[in-house]
């Protein structure tokens, strides 16, 4: 004969189970109701467009990862105007700080020393937004 304890346990379990189902149903209904409203009022995102974008993106990455695709990773031969350019820009112009002729590709490091800036130059200058005092 089953002890009173066991009966209580099973009815407790049933009750707990019952409440859980109620809660679960309520939550599911909440989500369904909210989603229904969003869909019906036209507030949802255009899922088709989003999926299409994702598909195109995946396709693009696959194509580029393809080793047989030489176009993607090839070195430049000519640009669209038919020009070629050396690795270090070779144009020559005068430095606007000191007046010397400098090769474009080396202008920045030159200017840094020329203006006395950078970590290797002198002590940190205080920040000022109109740096009129800097020039000679």
């Amino acid at each position: 004969m089953s002890a009173p304890d066991e009966n209580n346990k099973s009815s407790h379990t049933q009750l707990a189970s019952h409440f859980f189902s109620e809660l679960l149903d309520s939550v599911i209904m909440d989500v369904a109701s909210e989603s229904h409203r969003i869909a019906r009022l036209g507030l949802d995102r255009n899922l088709d467009d989003e999926e299409e974008e994702l598909r195109l993106s995946a396709q693009a990455r696959a194509r580029l990862a393809d080793p047989s695709n030489s176009e993607a990773n090839s070195k430049y031969v000519v640009d669209i105007f038919g020009q070629t350019h050396p690795p270090v820009a070779s144009e020559i112009f005068d430095c606007m700080n000191c007046g010397r002729s400098i090769v474009a590709g080396r202008f920045a490091p030159h200017l840094e020393k020329c203006m006395g800036k950078g970590r290797k130059a002198r002590v940190k200058a205080t920040r000022s937004s109109t740096a009129a005092a800097q020039n000679r």
Binding site: L43, S57, I80, R119, A131
Partner: protein
């Protein structure tokens, strides 16, 4: 709301016969929870709970009849007293789901929607928000200068319904492009020489050169170098140097240009960033806008606030962000506005569920998307228990929830992907190499304040402030800046979209590339321009040059029809 809502026949009939008085019944049964949440709770009196008139049960879904106010429950398909009620009382077809405050048509067997009903619910929710003294609510003094009404009722148009506006003509910066044949290269396409680790500068310059409002401003000669030099006591003006770059790049000369003068000027104006080493392109971008504003801002505005500044940098890039902090105890929300020239986005490591479903390989962890980053940006964020804020309404320190949204979209939207993580604890930085999918056409509707606030109130049909904004929420990409390589030794490049053709701008090298190359690239900064309503996706970002004043600064273009 974009869709016109057609009520079902039964709902229309109900309204014709009974008007909207019945809707106000819901107000007796609605009680707002904290946050002004979508869910409403039932509480007529503390001792009474609603019960089904058939079985006296209180389980399952409870519906209240809109005509006779009787309650009935719906437990399952076998036990549906709500349906029974509509069958025994002919004509009593519309009921209200009490737990969700939603209308239900038993004839259509579907949830239905009505603006007057939503309004009744909203009124109750609004009044229920924060039980403090409504008169005492004031915005933070500082913010009021921006001219926005901050406070409880500002979101709801004084509880009056405003007829839907829809977007207006807007976007005066959009140019209707002439169809330029592909064999002819667009104007303003010119390589920029790398002057020694200056690809960070070149990449941003390329984007600025083709940001429509920015480009139009300089090309129409609105920054007059001659008069500018004379008035400037310090003789330093970055806008003048930008103007020089524009003239050179749009001159028709296709040999790569060396922006040396620009670099020199920028260094003179940005002490702390001036050194020969790789810089961060985003920091550089912000710095350039700052320098332009400093100079122009003084001469053009008396306002110190960036909010309504008329300098070209802000007119092009400035938007307004809204931050809502809600007390979790009383539901009172404190709102502040801050201007911004870009939006920095964290990677959303939550996988986009579409991508997950379609993941080809089992090793693929899913794709991160730009839109999911924007979702993350506008998601309600629970502030930590160590960040308890003082709530002026219930006057205590409580946990709160913060949510960001965009109150006013800029003409040019710059989205910054935070790929560089700096850990203060470990004193190390690392780059997140993860690919980020981004759309060519971007609809910002889900991220604007009116959408976010509306969502917070359960997406009710109600007029929210900002609904009738003139600015279109549709944006089209025109430039992306990519970073490849390692954190310290990487390389920046810009992809430009001109006349529906993508060009790769790699310092001096300009080449044509397919859409695919751009889609597969690792974006760091993405630039979108607002498209006025009426434009379809993919239409030309034309390069129509205005024939206006001071054409002297602008030499005739060679090589383009």
């Amino acid at each position: 709301m974009s869709t016109t809502l057609n009520p079902c026949k039964h709902l229309s009939d109900y309204k014709l016969r009974y008007g909207v008085k019945g809707f106000s019944l819901i107000q007796k049964w609605v009680k707002s929870g904290p946050y002004g949440k979508t869910k409403t709770q039932m509480e007529r009196s503390k001792s009474e709970i609603p019960r089904c008139s058939f079985c006296c049960g209180y389980e399952g879904r409870l519906y209240m009849c809109l005509i006779c106010s009787s309650m009935s429950c719906s437990l399952s398909s076998e036990s549906n007293h709500a349906l029974l009620h509509t069958q025994t009382q002919i004509g009593h077809e519309i009921g209200v789901d009490l737990q969700r405050s939603e209308l239900y048509c038993f004839s259509c067997a579907d949830q239905v929607y009505d603006p007057d009903f939503d309004r009744a619910v909203m009124c109750e929710q609004i009044l229920g928000l924060g039980n403090g003294n409504l008169d005492g609510i004031r915005s933070n003094g500082k913010r009021k200068r921006l001219g926005f009404e901050v406070g409880l009722n500002s979101d709801f148009k004084n509880l009056k319904r405003v007829g839907g506006g829809g977007g207006g003509g807007g976007g005066g910066e959009w140019d209707h492009g002439r169809r330029i044949s592909k064999s002819c290269f667009p104007v303003g396409l010119r390589g920029l020489n790398n002057l020694g680790n200056t690809c960070f500068m070149n990449s941003v310059l390329q984007a600025l050169l083709h940001a429509p409002p920015f480009r139009n401003y300089f090309l129409s000669g609105r920054h007059n170098r001659d008069s500018c030099r004379k008035t400037a006591a310090d003789r330093l003006c970055l806008s003048c140097d930008i103007d020089i770059v524009f003239s050179a790049v749009f001159s028709g000369d296709r040999a790569p240009y060396s922006p040396a003068q620009f670099l020199y000027s920028w260094w003179r104006l940005s002490e702390n960033l001036a050194c020969y080493e790789q810089q961060d392109a985003h920091e550089f971008f912000m710095s350039v806008l700052d320098r332009i504003h400093e100079k122009e801002g003084k001469t053009r505005n008396t306002n110190k606030d960036n909010g309504d500044c008329h300098c070209v940098a802000h007119r092009a890039f400035s938007g307004l962000l809204r931050s809502d902090v809600t007390c979790t105890t009383c539901g009172f929300t404190s709102t502040t506005y801050d201007p911004c020239v870009d939006i920095s986005l964290d990677f959303n490591t939550t996988v986009d569920h579409f991508a997950a479903n379609k993941a080809q390989k089992s090793t693929e962890t899913g794709v991160s998307t730009l839109t999911s980053c924007l979702d993350l940006f506008t998601r309600p964020e629970k502030l930590g228990s160590d960040q308890k804020l003082y709530c002026q309404n219930c006057q205590g320190r409580h946990e709160s929830v913060k949510q960001m949204s965009i109150r006013r979209l800029p003409l040019v939207l710059c989205l910054h992907v935070k790929r560089f993580e700096h850990s203060l604890a470990r004193k190390a930085s690392r780059k997140i190499d993860r690919h980020l999918q981004f759309p060519f056409s971007l609809d910002m509707t889900p991220y604007v304040s009116s959408s976010i606030v509306r969502k917070r109130f359960g997406n009710r049909i109600f007029a929210f402030e900002g609904d009738e904004s003139e600015i279109s929420t549709n944006f089209e990409v025109f430039a992306v800046i990519t970073h490849s390589g390692m954190l310290e030794s990487g390389h920046y490049m810009t992809y430009l979209r001109l006349n529906e053709q993508w060009y790769k701008c790699d310092d001096a090298w300009i080449t044509e590339v397919d859409d695919e190359v751009v889609r597969a690239s690792q974006i760091y900064l993405a630039f979108y321009v607002q498209k006025p309503n009426g434009h379809k996706a993919g239409e030309d970002v034309g390069c129509h040059l205005r024939s206006s004043v001071s054409s002297d600064s602008f030499v005739s273009i060679a090589g383009c029809c």
